[in-house]
Symmetry: C2
Subunit: 399 residues, 2 copies
């Protein structure tokens, strides 16, 4: 039998994936499992968006333009214009999820062996895309003590070599929920300019910003607009993760032309998803208000409840719907597995994401887990109670 | 401004893409353009498939399993079982189009610098995927004189080095319409076994086989089932190119596990497409009969009409809906551009695909073009007439 590729062997399944069989087993045994591990919101997709697909009259589901339907790109440009981002439909390639936007960025900007700096903890799947593209991830650790703020710019300077081609941030951040400030984004812009790097920004949680703060997009960095790539997605904004529609955005024409070549090879992004995405642009403000109110209530509840548990530290996230918290445990992979396999409280348990999967540096995240507050308050309440009881009896408790 | 990646610069837009602006200009000038250049059929998507999407009652368009919905994979396994291919849902990963199945194959089986042998002319986009994966394409030229039959196995032997990791075929073939015989597939199996290679087969045109012939799938090669990967798609079978649903299929469990890691990184294939694909499995036989009759009529008409033109040679394709034909011209890129920019007959012209884009060897395909017979007979008739008149006056005519 011929051998599997090295990149195939080296790509690690995330720690969450490894837990799935244990969660399935727990359910088979009749336990209720509260899922705080996933980024799949329970919020409904806007009716106007669902209806557009239901009412679509086309008789042949054809390929679209490789950059996406022009009407959708025009509508999307208007969405960005309305939030102060000055682009046209020609600066946009519609992608198959935000995932593909990241892939296009790595393929178009980086050669195999080139390095991308990413503050960690970071979204696990960046590893898979980097591995596929032959790109090396250089992590800079941010700390829970500072609420996962941007690491000191000096730390970036230390890592920059002649192989460094880009810095990638996720803002608001998955997994930490941290919202980068305007000052932090400007500081990143300066180092990007100084070393002539690309700045990739995954801003898919843009609408999920709390406490009266404002999201400051990398697209505001006019001076380095040729270096900036915005990666976006409709998944979270409209709770439509399954449509697989995102966007690759840049004012750099040569970069757009290059990414378009990779886009042309895969022909087109999904047609139904584009129909839904275009219709979703008309989502009424009331929808977002409701979603906002729901999430802020959940966040306030969950952060407060977690910090009341003995030995738990939960920074207050300003965006997205995640938080990385510190627990009094020896090993988060072991703890999360133990929760599913060996523990129950009132016949329930909770599935968490071990933070080890969000760090590229060895042995980081052993006492941290990610919580996605994507459940209703009632369920969050029960889930936190389960966690509290679990920590009382976990054999690997450290203090 | 930071530099674009080498793979980005080296990936060539296909010659068809380069013609698009000239086609747009021709239309602006009021010319009618017959599109014989594209693989977008004018056949309707089955009603049962369209209705499944229209009637979908889900309120949240969620991520699916990364390998695709289990119910769809089970249904798809049954489809294969019915055509004599012995697989289960666990041998299938639902992909974002056949395109992604090819990407998963290259990423999972091949290291950067490894070589894949492909008989040429071949589907242009294999180049883009190879470039993204850092894989080197080694072409073996098949000839129009033999109707684009499989090149002699000795030619494959000559090309095999310690870098060779796979052979990729498309059967029935895009762009040639050639259907590989059972004997040819078995011969490929033997060389694959001898050198322990992977055999990738793109069989997306499986249903388009004419003249009472039978399609012989690589999945029948039981002795090398661990080496075989089937790449499939619903695009052509159900005229649903825009849903972006395909499949990566292998009996090799380690390979499926490896490909699944890349599948997990991109989360899931499109939800609506899966709904359509699953419902399409119930497409009545009458639909395929109608499509078959339509295509065979088109093929018979177009091949006959083309061969009647002075200086034109059109082999009779046994599958798919393409044919590569030989024309008395100096340069197919120049001719195809000239058709759009400088020629019209009865205020019409025709857009063809220069065959240069289907060859990886230099200077091949200069006197060949691909015809996609995806138009109604009436339009095909007019298009062939335009071509005939054009050849009479083309300044670069060679004989």
């Amino acid at each position: 039998m011929p051998s599997i590729s090295e990149r195939g062997l080296n790509t690690q399944a995330s720690p969450i994936r490894k837990l799935v069989p244990f969660a399935e087993q727990a359910k088979k045994e009749g336990k209720h499992v509260y899922h705080l591990n996933i980024g799949q919101p329970d919020i409904k997709t806007p009716e106007c968006a669902l209806n557009a697909v239901r009412n679509y009259k086309g008789k042949v589901i054809e390929y679209s333009h490789s950059a996406g339907n022009e009407s959708y790109r025009k509508g999307l440009a208007k969405y960005y214009n309305n939030i102060g981002i000055d682009i046209t439909q020609n600066d946009i390639i519609i992608t198959t999820g935000g995932s593909e936007a990241i892939q296009f960025g790595l393929l178009s900007c980086m050669n195999p062996g080139d390095e991308v700096i990413i503050p960690e903890p970071f979204y696990t799947n960046y590893n898979g895309f980097a591995s596929a593209a032959g790109v090396v991830v250089k992590p800079i650790t941010s700390s829970i003590e500072s609420g996962f703020a941007l690491p000191d710019i000096g730390e970036f300077e230390k890592l920059i070599t002649d192989k460094t081609k880009a810095i990638l941030i996720c803002n608001p951040n998955n997994p930490t929920g941290y919202l980068y400030s305007k000052e932090e984004i400007i500081a990143l812009g300066e180092i990007v300019k100084k070393h002539d790097l690309f700045l990739f920004a995954d801003e898919v949680y843009r609408e999920f910003v709390y406490d009266g703060l404002e999201h400051y997009s990398v697209m505001n960095l006019k001076e380095i607009e040729q270096n900036v790539v915005l990666m976006d997605s409709v998944s979270k904004r409209y709770s439509a993760c399954g449509v697989r529609i995102g966007a690759f955005i840049s004012k750099n024409k040569i970069l757009i032309e290059t990414a378009l070549k990779f886009a042309q090879a895969r022909l087109s992004p999904p047609s139904y998803g584009q129909i839904l995405g275009e219709a979703a642009l008309e989502t009424p403000k009331a929808y977002f208000d409701e979603v906002y109110n729901e999430y802020i209530e959940r966040r306030n509840f969950v952060i407060d409840a977690l910090n009341k548990i003995d030995g738990v530290m939960a920074p207050n996230p300003k965006g997205a719907f995640y938080t990385v918290i510190k627990l009094p445990i020896d090993n988060s992979d072991r703890f999360c597995k133990w929760l599913l396999s060996d523990f129950s409280y009132k016949n329930s348990t909770v599935m968490l994401a071990p933070a080890t999967g969000f760090y590229s540096s060895d042995k980081h995240g052993l006492d941290e887990v990610r919580i996605a507050y994507v459940l209703k308050i009632k369920d969050l309440k029960n889930a936190v109670e389960v966690l509290e009881e679990a920590l009382k009896v976990y054999p690997g408790r450290t203090n």
